[in-house]
């Protein structure tokens, strides 16, 4: 397990494997020419499969036509080689070119939905295929083009077919090291966070369109590396090698091998190279096997062959362990000190004035005004559909209000700010269903979110700046130590809700909006949460709490707003609200049943 977190050691291991493979293939005398080529083919397919698989695994994006980027790498190798550039310059140029194209396309698709990446790459691949077939000077057109010997500074001579093994293995090794470094680091964790909770990640300061585009650019660069290797290894380029069929084959490799895994990519590449080899002589078998394997793996081994095997070998005991955890994690240290150490923006107030929201013709909010003074806790109650969550979504920037008077955190006007900028202003929130990042452990999630708040902490002169230290401090402070290394879906709901608050704190939220924190908790869990929220309030965190569990709100909040049909119908201290006949009529009849349901 240790190796999993030690990135330099992993990089060294990858390099070692690359070196060993090279020794076996080239210098052991054990491997014939044909088998050597099969190894090389697996290597360059593994790189492009990794490019696809990394996007699928870390971002949930399945590119259908990555062949366009492979082609970019391959044809640049030929043409820059003809122009006399050394291979050491060609590969970086190819990678950067593909990455820039990928990033720009990613910005186009990423603005809407990840699904569009798939469709856009499909279109890109068809267009690229057409251009390749026609752009004679650059690609040799439909007849294809011979790859010349390419000068190499390191080899001190031009390299060609006979150097394919060494070159391809170097390319594959570098590509895998890059993938490992990027994906296992904070960047990869950010991608995973966005993949598992796109909306919640925005509230934590992540920018999904930009991150998706970056990942897409990175992946395109990898695909281009594969193209460079392909050009050298095959010695001839033909448009057919970059057709949509070839792109679909990459998908097959990704699905079969398993997403986001280097070993999976190698396995998948071996699969697509191996099937035609094994189906030798029999016609039309490969498409059946490809299509069938894709369907069966997705239906029965959703994660792919390699990750499923790894999980079977290593992960079987984990679930049981986590159940044992969850019980009673002791909290260490007091929250006041924690808040003082890690929150850059304390003591801001939250001012909402005249917010109106309409969905179609339905008025979801009408001129709602709520003020939460700095360091206080204010409650917001109301029946289902009264607009509570809508108001929270306006605060988060997920819903665009029809009109707004004021929307401010401290001196910062939230109006017009993108959702991901609001955490910088100190506004954080939690979610009704916690919406934790499913593919990250609690610790990893807190670390990656804490990195977002680093600059603000530094600017505010907090004693703790380092993200990892902040994460540890929050873990200790909220008593998450025993569960910090597990993924959220193994954890009891009560712990998930605490982790959700921890996440907002890690982002640097001094103003906290809580969406039904008590719903779905048992008495024990509620008591723990109550204690945490009290301490936070005492430590000076500004809290807006929405819940159906009214007695908790009355207990915690010093004043309460009541929302019904999108309007504030009452506002006062808990005692006043309890006594308010309008509220009793509009709300309490329902509350009792709602409470009964939750219990």
């Amino acid at each position: 397990m240790k190796l999993a977190s030690n990135r330099p050691a992993r990089a060294a291991l990858i390099a070692l494997c690359g070196l060993l493979t090279w020794l076996v293939v080239v210098h052991s005398g054990l491997v014939g020419d044909y088998v050597g080529f099969v190894v090389v083919a697996i290597a360059y397919f593994a790189v492009v499969t990794m490019a696809v698989s990394m996007l699928a695994g870390y971002c949930g994006i399945w590119p259908i036509g990555h062949t366009a980027f492979t082609a970019t790498g391959a044809y640049l190798t030929v043409n820059l080689g003809l122009a006399g550039l050394p291979i050491e310059a060609i590969v970086p140029i190819a990678v950067v070119t593909a990455a820039v194209i990928g990033y720009l396309l990613g910005m186009t698709a990423g603005r809407f939905s990840i699904l569009y990446f798939g469709l856009l790459t499909l279109a890109l691949s068809l267009a690229a295929f057409e251009v390749i077939g026609r752009w004679d000077q650059f690609t040799g057109g439909e007849h294809g083009i011979v790859v010349p010997a390419i000068p190499s500074l390191l080899a001190g001579r031009p390299i060609g077919l006979t150097d394919a093994t060494g070159f391809t293995l170097i390319v594959a090794t570098v590509a895998f090291m890059a993938v490992d470094l990027v994906c296992r680091g904070p960047v990869g964790r950010r991608w995973l966070a966005i993949k598992s909770q796109r909306i919640a990640s925005m509230a934590c300061g992540f920018v999904p369109p930009r991150e998706n585009a970056t990942a897409f650019g990175f992946s395109a660069g990898l695909a281009a590396m594969s193209g460079c290797a392909m050009a050298i290894a095959i010695g001839y380029l033909d448009p057919e090698g970059f057709s949509l069929n070839a792109g679909v084959t990459m998908l097959v490799a990704t699905v079969v091998g398993g997403t986001g895994s280097i070993l999976g990519a190698i396995f998948g590449a071996a699969f697509i190279v191996g099937v035609p080899e094994l189906a030798r002589g029999t016609s039309n078998v490969a498409p059946f096997i490809y299509g069938g394997a894709m369907i069966l793996v997705l239906l029965f081994l959703r994660k792919g062959v390699v990750p499923s095997i790894i999980e079977l070998l290593s992960g079987g005991s984990r679930g049981a362990r986590m159940k044992a955890a969850g019980q009673g994690a002791a909290r260490g240290g007091d929250l006041a000190a924690l808040v003082a150490d890690v929150l850059p923006n304390r003591g801001s107030d939250l001012v909402i004035e005249d917010v109106s929201v309409a969905f179609g013709g339905v008025k979801a909010l009408q001129n709602v005004s709520i003020t939460v003074p700095a360091g206080r806790a204010i409650g917001l109650i109301g029946p289902n559909g009264s607009g509570k969550t809508t108001l929270l979504n306006v605060l988060s920037g997920f819903v665009k209000p029809k009109s707004v008077g004021t929307l401010k955190v401290g001196s910062v006007d939230l109006q017009g700010l993108a959702p991901w900028v609001r955490i910088e202003a100190g506004f954080g929130r939690t979610f009704q269903h916690a919406e934790l990042f499913g593919e990250l452990t609690i610790r990893d999630a807190l670390r990656v979110v804490a990195r977002q708040g680093r600059a603000s902490r530094l600017a505010a002169g907090r004693t703790l700046v380092d993200a990892d230290a902040v994460a540890e401090r929050i873990i200790a402070g909220l008593g998450l130590g025993e569960v910090a290394d597990s993924k959220p879906h193994f954890l009891p709901f009560g712990i998930q809700k605490v982790a959700d608050i921890a996440r907002a704190l890690a982002g640097g939220a001094g103003v906290l909006a809580l969406d039904e924190p008590f719903s779905g908790l048992d008495a024990d869990e509620s008591a723990k949460l109550r204690a945490i929220l009290r301490e936070l309030r005492q430590a000076g965190v500004t809290i807006l709490i929405i819940d159906h569990v009214v007695h908790e709100i009355f207990d915690l909040a010093e004043s309460v707003y009541v929302l019904d049909f999108g309007s504030v119908i009452a506002h006062g201290t808990p005692a006043e609200i309890r006594a308010n006949p309008k509220v009793r009529e509009a709300y309490f009849g329902i509350t009792e049943t709602a409470e009964a349901q939750h219990a």
């Binding site: 809407f112 279109a123 057409e130 299509g291 997705l298």
Partner: protein, 291 residues
């Protein structure tokens, strides 16, 4: 000038196939969050079935309805066996999409193994041709456009006036509400896949009669249908129809006046520009990812 008129007329005729496929894609996507890449191959498969039926003596008109039924049933089966077991959730969008790609591969290989890869002559529903504005247009093409319009009319009526259709539309907008209203989501999915794949069968039936039938004929029209979906928006049924027709005309005009060599590239460029200008397409709505 006669050129442009004939280009537009034939563009609309071609576009009817794209529009049908695009409509099918949107209907299936709205109901089950699945972008069905196998929709064209399903239509092709059904057309092959019709071809076998015709060879066995079934009248062409009956074979036409047979094709629709076969495609619909294959669609229902695909949804039941491959898509439904996946469960629900936004992160499954791509898993479902990739499964349909796999299904398409298997279908194409299967058709190749069973019926062969050689193009097969396919009889038109209505043989013969007429002169329109000086251009000979096959009656098959006219029939294709007419049937496309009828099918679209039926779809519009179904979703606009039939209680179950209205409910389906509502459920696409709010699945939770649909469940609360007690709608049977499984039945909704089946009907959507039947409709979507049936529309694809109509498109492929007429395309095959126009030239010939082989296991790979769905490839290029499907891409154009997707372009139409981009134009109109992934969630809008009228958008898909208009988008499909627009791509038919655009493709013809661009192929004639700009370059016949870069058809796909031109279509692709249009898609990118549309996404830049209007990410949701011209009639689609930005679908909020659910909180």
């Amino acid at each position: 000038m006669g050129d442009i008129i004939s280009l537009i007329i034939s563009g609309i005729a071609n576009g009817s196939a794209y529009a049908l496929l695009a409509l099918g894609i949107v209907i299936i996507f709205r109901s089950t969050d699945t972008v069905n890449f196998a929709i064209g191959d399903t239509g092709t498969l059904a057309t092959f079935a019709a071809l076998s039926a015709i060879a066995a003596g079934v009248p062409i008109a009956a074979a036409f309805f047979l094709a629709i039924a076969v495609a619909g049933v294959v669609g229902i089966a695909a949804e039941r066996l491959l898509i439904r077991p996946l469960g629900h959730g936004q992160h499954l969008l791509f898993v479902a999409l990739v499964i349909t790609i796999g299904l398409g591969l298997v279908m194409q290989a299967g058709m190749g193994a069973f019926w062969g890869n050689t193009p097969k002559p396919f009889p038109p529903l209505v043989p013969g041709w007429i002169q329109v504005a000086g251009v000979a247009i096959s009656l098959n093409k006219i029939a294709a456009t007419v049937f496309a319009l009828i099918a679209m009319g039926f779809v519009a009526w179904f979703f606009g006036y039939m209680p179950f259709g209205i409910a389906m539309r509502a459920s696409a907008e709010d699945p939770l509400a649909a469940r609360m209203l007690g709608l049977n989501t499984g039945r909704i999915a089946s009907i959507a896949w039947f409709l979507g794949c049936g529309l694809a069968a109509i498109a492929m039936f007429f395309l095959a009669a126009e030239s010939s039938l082989n296991p790979h004929i769905a490839h290029s029209p499907l891409f154009r249908a997707f372009a139409g979906v981009f134009l109109g928006g992934l969630t809008s049924m009228p958008g898909a129809v208009i988008g499909g027709f627009a791509i038919g005309v655009l493709d013809n005009i661009a192929g004639h006046y700009i370059s016949a060599n870069y058809r796909d590239t031109i279509v692709f460029t249009v898609i990118v520009v549309v996404l830049f200008v209007r990410p949701a397409g011209f009639l689609g709505s930005i679908r909020k990812e659910r909180v």
